[in-house]
Symmetry: C2
Subunit: 280 residues, 2 copies
């Protein structure tokens, strides 16, 4: 019997109403499970609009402890009912600290713990350093009932170090919930192609499938570009969505076959850790 | 006055005759210089056929000290005459040691030193571990008269650590001489797309142009797939060659503009070196 895994990415637009947003994700999770998905990835911070566009202190009220965040408490029973893994992206409060976090719900609804986004962006339209303390958990790979799942969050996806670290920790697949789109400082700047290329590169270099889920929609002039995708261990696109579509994509991978391919390629055999000191 | 650089990649087939091969590269270097190139990259080990297909002790006679290797001594005056930088890939002997090396010829013909390939592949058709000791120089970035040039060699191109290290050392551009093509153990396996994706990923993650030069031709049944390319700092292909074409491609980059873009993207601002220990 071979180990296989079916990944799903969800793509949707989100409103100012938390209940509506979580219900929308729940519906799409149900669709994805109906299509045979084992691991179902919603976009980043789907409980609300992407509030980091501006720096406003009122948004700190959105942060909740991860154990009692409504996105977690409402999706956990669904994960158990459907027998699927759901990485849930939330704005987390931990005492006086606030993080951009991900709670990994296993296929029996158990929360396996929290990952806190390591790389925090800051620039026009994406002023996350105002809201989020840089993560203190380190990179995480979760031994779920469906496979060993590594997950970064949005800006983490641009860093080869994060992908490599998760691969070294034994990840079978890499997931990246995302919120990315227009750059207000330059309306002509479209980062969609390079966004995808960075993650296709991680797939190739680590011989690992990669799944990225982005939001769509126009949030007060900030348009998110969707183009969620799943690529295989060679970086080849296996499934994708357009710039405005909402819905679900899935792709199935044979993890045993990929593990053999990873060994035969020899990247991990040939790493020169004696020469990598400069990276630190 | 802005700092700009024009990169060129050479693509050709090579024979068993060293003089012919070096003369062929010299002709293409002249073509590239005529097109305005500042830095001109020939493929890997162009002085001969790709001998690493099999393990034969007679091939060790191909190794020479880098200072007196005919590819170096013949191309150095050409670099000076044309005022161009030429990274020269050779089979190097240093006492009892043999390396897969690159000698960086500056635009006045001066040899700036040697880089020894850090990552040595080994597999059907590419049995380099039989011939080459893993490099002991560490990664290198050369302050040439035309810009700060980082160069890896072939298998190095699959490792994000090598690209990142060279970017951290201040490289303006990354170069990779290559010899890659058919996989004898599986005639259906075509690695050309992932080969390119890995390096496009390095371009994006480091906001840096990347140039790769490969050989073409059928060498006793081993067909090299060419597809040499130059991509910009977003991974977008700026120039490319086909699978059988021989010739020259060039692309010009504004290094000041790219340096500003690199800073504005914030990748180097946001690296979490405190979390990268696992990479070593």
């Amino acid at each position: 019997m071979t180990r296989s895994i079916t990944l799903a990415a969800l793509q949707a637009s989100f409103t100012g109403d938390e209940d509506t947003n979580i219900a929308r994700v729940a519906d799409l999770v149900r669709d994805a499970a109906g299509q045979g998905a084992d691991v179902i990835l919603p976009p980043e911070l789907f409980s609300g609009p992407y509030f980091c566009k501006t720096q406003e202190e009122t948004h700190f009220a959105r942060a909740r402890e991860w154990q009692s965040h409504p996105a977690v408490t409402r999706l956990a029973p669904l994960a158990a009912e459907l027998g699927v893994v759901i990485p849930v992206s939330i704005f987390e409060r931990d005492g006086p600290h606030t993080y951009n976090s991900l709670v990994m719900l296993d296929a029996d609804g158990t929360a396996l713990g929290v990952y806190r986004k390591s790389h925090i962006p800051d620039g026009p339209g994406y002023q996350e350093k105002f809201y989020f303390r840089p993560g203190d958990t380190g990179f995480k790979v979760w031994a779920t009932k469906k496979g060993r799942v590594g997950a970064g969050i949005c800006w983490d996806q641009w860093f080869p170090e994060a992908a490599r670290a998760m691969a070294l920790m034994g990840a079978d697949v890499l997931l990246y919930p995302t919120a990315i789109g227009a750059e207000p400082q330059d309306p002509s700047l479209d980062t969609a192609a390079r966004w995808r290329r960075a993650m296709q590169g991680h797939a190739v270099s680590n011989v690992i499938p990669v799944c990225a889920a982005n939001r769509v929609g126009d949030e007060d002039g900030q348009v998110f570009y969707g183009t969620s995708f799943i690529c295989d261990q060679t970086g080849e696109i296996a499934a994708e969505l357009g710039r405005t579509e909402e819905g679900v994509i899935t792709a199935c991978f044979d993890l045993d076959e990929i593990e053999t391919e990873r060994a035969a390629w020899g990247f991990f055999r040939d790493r020169r850790t004696d020469l990598y000191g400069r990276l630190l």
